[in-house]
Every structure is written in C-alpha cells, then in structure tokens.
C-alpha cells in the first residue's frame, strides 16, 4: 500500500500551516481548538484522496498535493480592486474576504434589519460562542471528504450569517472571496456558517475569483442550517483563474417544511470541484440544486451532489448542465439516498451535457439508493452535441458557424440562468458569451446584450 500521509513530502507544509493558523484562533473558546485538532487528525490519517477512492476516481488531486502551497499572506486591497466583483447595482450587505481573511474596511456588514447579523467568524465567536457551538464545524462533521477535514483544520476565517425567527431579508447577502498572489503558490481556507432560524428567509450570493494569475488553492466550506419553515437560496459564481484550484463544499441541513436551493455556476480553475450535500431532516423539507459548469482549455471541473432523504415526505429536484470544450474534462456525480422509512420521498435529478470537442471528456454518474418503498424517484443523464439542423437553420439566417454554435450553446445554458437574480444572470451571460468562440457575434444576435 501507499505510504501514510505523515511520511509524505506534502505533510510538513500542511502541518506547519495547521500550527500557524492555530494562532488565529487563540482567543476562540476551547471547543474550537478541540474541533480543529479533531479535523487535523482526520485529515492527517487519510491525507489526500487516492485515485482508488470512488469519490475521486475521475478527479486526481495529485497536482494539489505536489504543489508546495503556503498559507496566503494577509493582503490589503483598496476598494477600487474589489468593486469590479460587486455586481453592478448591488446595494445589499457585503462581506469581502481576501486570501482567506475578512476585510472589514471593504465590507458592508451593517445595515441589516434587527434580528439579522452578518459578521466575521472571529467576532462571532467572541460575541456569541454558545450560539455557534451547536453548528460550527458540526453540520459537516460527518463528511468523509478529506478536504472537509482539511478545511476544519486550516480555516482562517469566514462569515457568520444568522437570521432570527421570522426575519426575511429582501436583499441578497454577498460573500466575496478574492485570492491574490503571483509568485508563490498560496492556499486559503474559508469556512462560512449560515443559521436561518424558523420562518426566516435569505438569499446568499457567493462569488469567488482570483486577482492576478497566480497558482492558488482555495478550499471553501459553507455550513447552512435551515430552520423550520425557513428558506435559504444560495447562489454561487466561481470565476477563478485557469491556474487556480478551487474546491468547495456546501453542506445544508433542512428542518421541517424548510426549503433550500443552490445554484452554482462553476467556470474557473484548472481543477474545480463543488460538493453539495443536503440533508432533508424534517418532514416537508425540500431542496432544489441546480448548476452550470463550463470547462475548456485544460480545465477539469467536478460536481458531486448528495441528497439524504432522511424522514418521510421530503422532496428534491436537481438540474445540472455542463458545457465541455477544448481538452477539458467534466465530472458529475449525483447521489440521492432515501433512507429506510423515509416514505413519500419525491426526488428528481437531471444532468445534461454538451460535449463540444473531440479532446474533451464527460463522466457522469447519477445514483439512486433507495431503502423505502413508497417513493417517486428518477434521474436522467444525457451527453450530446449541438443539433446540426439547428446550426444549419441559424446559418441560413446569416450567422456564421461559430456564432450559430455560440448562440445554441448559450440557449442550452440559458435554462440554468433563469430565475437567478438579475445581476448574477448578467454576469453569467457575459462570461458565457466571452468564453464561447463566436460569442461576440452571438451577443449581437441576441440584441438584448
């Protein structure tokens, strides 16, 4: 068998990083240190996933392991550098993180109605430690993903968003994370906690991008507790540089009659992975997970979803779309688990992929695991290409080949944008049309842009 992680070259830098980040948490309650220690022990016991690990079969992480990442240095930015990443016209609360640390001066944390709080994790721990204790690093404690453990051990900072009972936020909350660094490979670990108490409602917008084109590894973990009858909508836009390694995990627990939705646009990174795991823990709980991934060049993008229907009368919907071109590779694995006695589960999943190049590859694995009998579950997966008849039709209307293909590809993706808040939709549309060959011409064709 392979060497234990402790004896591998990658071990030491991570161990040093663990000790170094430990200092950031000196003021935190003792249980934080205990949980970090526990997470570190878990990570160092298994190390990076091996290709034999079924969950990582198509996504080798050896490139991350073999790069000597150092914890990203604290970097101060000016507002001008951050502004381009705040969607035009966005006036809601913003928490800006740079290299894994909160930048209060660039953020807009105040101005929330009473009963709603957005603060950095460190302040939250100082103010309300007993309030965080049941959830922080607990919701995702059972994740067997090694990067969940790594995040638990190395997280430097994060946001804490809490909504008291019945509080409804009309404006979305933006969590922005930027990684800056050009010369040495750096890494940042971020951990957010969202607690939506009974009957509350909030829309979260997470955006992450790179400043410069340095090699960096960003590991984000977001824990979301959706209380009884609460509703949390999570939107994410991942636009890291093509040399970045963004890995993210989203873990939500939904109580009775609660509703959780996520919509993830994954566009950047040379190796990007999104793990979404939702636990439907109360009857009447529901979730909707959607996403769009776009990969070209040498990109590798991976999406893993898992939904646990744990109690009777829960429902879930998933629609993921993928566009893969160049020499890129896209991986999708969606697992739906219906536990014993979780009757009346209603689960639907769809994964549609557009394979645009002979060098590209798509691997998709939808999974249904069902231990109850009174259920309605289905999944569908397709891999295909553009309809040549439609391309011909558009060309007969005067578009050139590239523009026709861009227009059709855009139309394929458009479904994933519908219903997203307008500023996100515009940002996504712009990125798509910029990345697709012929996109400029297609944009003219669509007039509205």
């Amino acid at each position: 068998m392979s060497l234990s992680f402790e004896s591998r070259p990658a071990y030491l830098p991570y161990r040093e990083a663990f000790d170094q980040t430990g200092r950031l948490w000196d003021d935190a309650p003792a249980w934080v240190a205990a949980r970090r220690e526990e997470a570190w022990n878990r990570f160092s016991a298994v190390g990076f996933p091996s290709p034999r690990d079924e969950e990582w079969k198509y996504t080798p992480t050896s490139a991350i392991e073999q790069t000597a990442f150092r914890p990203a240095p604290e970097t101060l930015l000016v507002l001008r550098q951050v502004e381009p990443f705040i969607p035009f016209g966005f006036s809601g609360p913003v928490a800006v993180f740079v290299n894994g640390r909160l930048q209060p001066a660039l953020s807009r944390l105040g101005g929330l109605p009473e009963g709603a709080t957005l603060v950095g994790l460190h302040s939250a721990l100082a103010l309300w430690p007993e309030e965080l204790e049941p959830n922080l690093m607990r919701l995702a404690a059972d994740e067997d993903n090694p990067f969940a453990a790594l995040n638990g051990a190395l997280a430097e900072d994060g946001a804490y968003l809490r909504l008291r009972q019945g509080i409804e936020l009309d404006q979305p909350v933006l969590l922005l994370h930027l990684t800056a660094g050009n010369h040495v490979p750096v890494m940042a670990h971020l951990r957010h906690l969202v607690v939506a108490e009974a009957g509350s409602r909030v829309t979260l917008l997470a955006r992450q991008a790179s400043l410069g084109d340095g090699v960096h590894f960003v590991d984000t973990l977001t824990e979301v507790a959706v209380g009884e009858g609460a509703a949390v909508d999570y939107l994410k836009l991942q636009e890291e540089s093509p040399r970045a390694y963004p890995l993210a995990q989203l873990r939500a627990r939904v109580e009775k009659d609660g509703r959780f939705s996520s919509r993830i646009f994954s566009f950047g990174g040379q190796l990007a992975r999104e793990d979404v795991h939702v636990e439907l823990a109360g009857s009447g709980a529901s979730c909707q997970l959607d996403g769009l991934y776009l990969a070209d060049g040498h990109q590798h993008t991976d999406t893993h979803t898992r939904i646990d229907h744990r109690v009777p009368a829960t429902s879930s919907r998933q629609t993921y779309k993928g566009i893969v071109a160049g020499r890129a590779r896209a991986v999708f694995k969606g697992r739906v688990l219906v536990e014993r006695d979780a009757q009346q589960a209603d689960a639907r999943q769809a994964n549609h992929n557009l394979l645009l190049s002979p060098e590209a590859e798509i691997d998709t694995t939808p999974q249904l695991e069902i231990y109850a009998d009174d259920v309605k579950c289905s999944h569908g997966a397709t891999v295909g290409q553009l309809d040549e008849k439609q391309v011909f039709y558009l060309r007969s209307r005067g578009l050139d080949d590239a523009a026709a293909r861009a227009a059709l590809t855009y139309a394929f993706a458009a479904g994933a944008m519908e219903g997203a808040i307008p500023c996100v939709r515009e940002a996504v549309a712009a990125t798509l049309l910029e990345r697709l060959p012929g996109g400029e011409l297609a944009r003219e064709f669509f007039h509205e842009f």
Partner: protein, 481 residues
C-alpha cells in the same frame, strides 16, 4: 373467485419446486484447490497440454488476486479450500443416444420440466444439458452438423476442435480478467461450445440447462460461442439448483464472439436456489459474461431474467469494436426475501456508429436488494455512437432496497448518450383498479409485474417467456400483504 383463491393458496404453498437431489453416483475430486487438483481435472478430461498450461497460468495468477468486495452485496467469506472443484456423474462410457443415459438423470430433467425426449420430438430445441460438470447428452447434433454448426460440450470441443478453442478461448474474457473469471479459468469443468460457420443461420434455438446437483460443489462452467461472418445464432440458458442450507458458489464465464455481420442472441433464465425466507442458503452467482462485436455490422444481444440465487453479481457486457455494431441488454432482476442482485451491463463503444440499448427492470420485495450497475463508455474512436439506457425499479415492501449506479464516460463529441431511471412503488391505483374488477391481489400484483417486465420478456424466445412469467409469479409469492 374461489378458483382464484385456491390458486393463490396453491401459489403460496409453493416453495422452491426444483429443490430435489438426484441420487446419482458422482465421480468427484477431493475438496480444495491446488495445482494437483487442476492437473487432475485436466487429466480426467483428457485435455491437451496447452489447456493445462492455460489453467495453471490462470491459477498462479489467481493466487495473487484478492477477492473483490466493491459490490453492495453482503455475504459470509467464501472458503475456496472447502469446495469440490470437479464432480461428474459416473458413467461407463459416453452415451451415444438418449436411451443410454442414466434414467435417474433423465427423471431429474423431467422434474425440471425439460424432458429431453419430448423436447427432441416436439419442441425442436437442441439441448446441451450440463449435469454438474459434464455434459450428459447433446441432442439434435446430427442435424446441426449438416450445416457445419458445432454445438457440443466444452470438453468435447477441446478434444475435437482444439484449434477453434485455442483461437477463441480467453479472447473476450482473458484468464486474468477478474478474481472469479480467473478462478473459473483455472478450474472450469465443462460448458457449451458453439461455432456457427460463415453465412449460416442456425435453424433452431440452442439451449443448455445447467444444474448444480452434488453437495458442496461449485459450478464453474465456461461457454464459448463464436458466430463467424454473417452467421446468426440464438442461445438459451436456464439454471436451477437443489435446495441446500449452505451456500454454493457458481462462477461461470461466458464468451461471445461475433465476427463481421454476425448476430448472437443470448438469453438466460436464472433460477438458482435463492435461499429460504430467512436468507439461509442459496447460490452465490458470480458470473462474468462478455460479448465481443469484433466485426463490422455485428450484433450481440443479452436478455436475462434473474429470479434465483442468494446473490447475483454479473454484468453481461458488449465490446462494440466493429463499426456499426450493435449491443443490447434486456434484463429483469427480482430480489425477494433476502436475495441480493447486483447486475447491469457494460457497453464499450470503440467502433464508429456503434449503438447500444440497455433496458433494465429491477423488482425488489421483502428484504431483497436490487442494484443496477452499468457503464456506458464511448471512446474517442466511436464517432456517431449512440446509447439509450432505461432502468426502472419497482418496490414492494418497506424493507427492500433498490439502487441505480450508472456510469457514463464519453470522449467523442459526436456521440449521443441518454440515461433515464425511475424508482417507484407498485402502483396503488393500478392494484385498486384490478381488485375493484374482482381480481385477487396476488394475481393483480403478478399482472402488474408482468406488465412492468413486458418489454424485456418480449425479447425472450417464446417458451422462455412463458417460463419467465411463471417464475416471476412463484418467486414473488408472499411479497404482498
């Protein structure tokens, strides 16, 4: 009404009908496995040296392999030294006609519902019956011989057509393919061999009936079917085993080779002993089945009805190498009581414009667990490849489980792959409708299940389709209520 009640009672009273032991004297080798046992098997079968070496190479390779455990099946460890690897009914010489066959054996087949004589006369089906490890009698051989079709036991093929065997044996499932296939390569006892020459359409369905009889024997048969250019053949395989408490291992290998323009249709009704209601006993059915569409425009079609075995673990696959070749997989798998079925297929698209269709129907009842596990792989060379997959699961009872694990890997942008799966409970409204029309619940269930499986049954040859429906009905009894 009272008729149907009686029928239900009769059905409910019906246990595994095929659980009898035939008191036939058997020629067995001692328990356990080492090189000497393999040499002994090979010697008993008077095999040429190349085959002995082939077996020994496989055995040596097997020693270095670990038993796989990635399936969702749970079972107690298998002691490979506690298995008798060879058991043959003792007969003085090979019988020349059915009249010379041990009457006890023939009675066994009668009980199984395949009276050889009757079949020879009426059904027009050529049966190569495998009784434990040696092929007992092969019917209709003369008729087939006229067309140049070789249909005989594997041992006979080794003796009489060594070149053909040598050319094709292990060419689809190499001896080192996987743990159980390697074990089979080392110890396989007998099986069927079919060769259909160029341009010949086999005029009748070929059929083998496998049956495990002697206690503590494993059945390691090996089937090889070769359809030469433009040939067509349809092959049926049915299996039953006596009722016993301990588990028995069945590790078979089936290899199909379709050359240019050839068509092979392979149908299985698998009804090995599934164990009793408490999950005691039953066959471990760990089988490697693979077809190779070697030539352009060839076609391989698998149809299976899996109602038996404590654990079924098999994935009949097709390698679509030839351009325009076609692969099909139609399956009904039933898991009742404590049965576990982990089955599915692999379609590997290599040639241009290759097409595959997968239709899988899983039924879980009682504590049964049913998993579809499949792979559709489109390689870069498979321009214009198409696949359509549909997997449906039907659930009966709140302690059963149904899983779907399809894997799709596509490397060609001109390929189209579609996968659909659904899992649902047996329709309450359909049941209600039937009951409201005076149809007893058991009958209604059986009717709905048959409807659910219809698309697969219609791929089966007629006599098999009828048997499959009956089997399903019997296997499902007690699943409702």
């Amino acid at each position: 009404m009272s008729d149907s009640v009686q029928q239900v009672e009769q059905l409910v009273g019906q246990e595994y009908r095929w659980g009898f032991v035939s008191p036939v004297e058997a020629d067995t080798v001692p328990k356990g496995l080492d090189e000497d046992v393999i040499r002994l098997i090979s010697a008993k079968k008077q095999e040429p040296d190349f085959l002995l070496q082939w077996r020994l190479d496989a055995y040596r390779h097997w020693l270095g392999l670990a038993e796989p455990h990635w399936s969702s099946a749970h079972y107690a460890p298998i002691d490979y030294q506690d298995i008798i690897y060879y058991s043959a009914p003792k007969t003085q010489d090979r019988p020349k006609s059915l009249d010379e066959v041990d009457p006890e054996l023939l009675r066994t087949y009668d009980k199984l519902g395949i009276p050889l004589k009757e079949q020879e006369l009426l059904a027009g089906v050529a049966v190569d019956a495998v009784f434990d490890s040696v092929s007992v009698a092969t019917t209709f051989k003369a008729q087939l011989k006229k067309l140049g079709i070789i249909f005989c036991s594997f041992s006979e093929a080794v003796r009489e057509h060594p070149d053909l065997v040598r050319q094709y044996l292990g060419s689809v499932v190499p001896p080192g393919d996987n743990f159980f296939a390697t074990l089979n390569s080392a110890v396989f006892s007998d099986g069927s061999f079919v060769y259909v020459p160029k341009g010949v359409r086999c005029p009748m369905e070929l059929s083998t009936y496998f049956r495990i009889n002697a206690r503590a024997t494993g059945q390691f048969e090996r089937t090889l079917i070769v359809a030469d250019e433009g040939a067509t053949v349809s092959y049926l395989e049915g299996c039953t085993a006596p009722m016993r408490d301990e588990h028995q291992l069945h590790a078979a290998v089936v290899e199909l080779v379709a050359l240019e323009g050839a068509t092979i249709k392979y149908s299985t009704v698998q009804n090995w002993y599934p164990g009793d209601k408490e999950g005691k006993g039953g066959i471990y059915n760990f089988v490697t089945k693979r077809g190779d569409c070697r030539g352009a425009n060839s076609k391989i079609s698998w149809t299976q009805v899996e109602t038996g075995s404590a654990i079924t673990w098999k994935y009949p696959s097709v390698i679509l190498r030839g351009d325009n070749s076609v692969g099909e997989f139609y399956s009904v798998a039933l898991a009742n009581h404590f049965q576990q079925a982990d089955t599915g297929t692999k379609m590997v698209h290599i040639g241009r414009n290759t097409r595959s269709t997968i239709l899988s129907k899983g039924i879980s009842a009682g504590h049964g667990s049913n998993a579809y596990r499949g792979l559709v792989k489109v390689l870069k060379s498979a321009h214009g490849a198409r696949n359509y997959t549909q997997c449906d699961s039907l659930l009966m009872g709140d302690r059963c489980a149904a899983h779907t694990f399809p894997v799709i890997e596509v490397k060609n942008p001109a390929a189209g792959v579609e996968h659909e799966a659904s899992t649902s409970k047996i329709g309450e409204d359909q049941l209600f409708y039937c009951k409201q029309r005076g149809i007893a619940e058991e009958d209604a269930v059986s009717m709905i299940v048959n409807g659910f499986c219809k698309e697969v049954f219609k791929e089966l040859p007629m006599e098999f389709a009828v048997e499959a429906q009956k089997l399903l009905q019997v296997s499902l009894e007690g699943a409702i209520g």
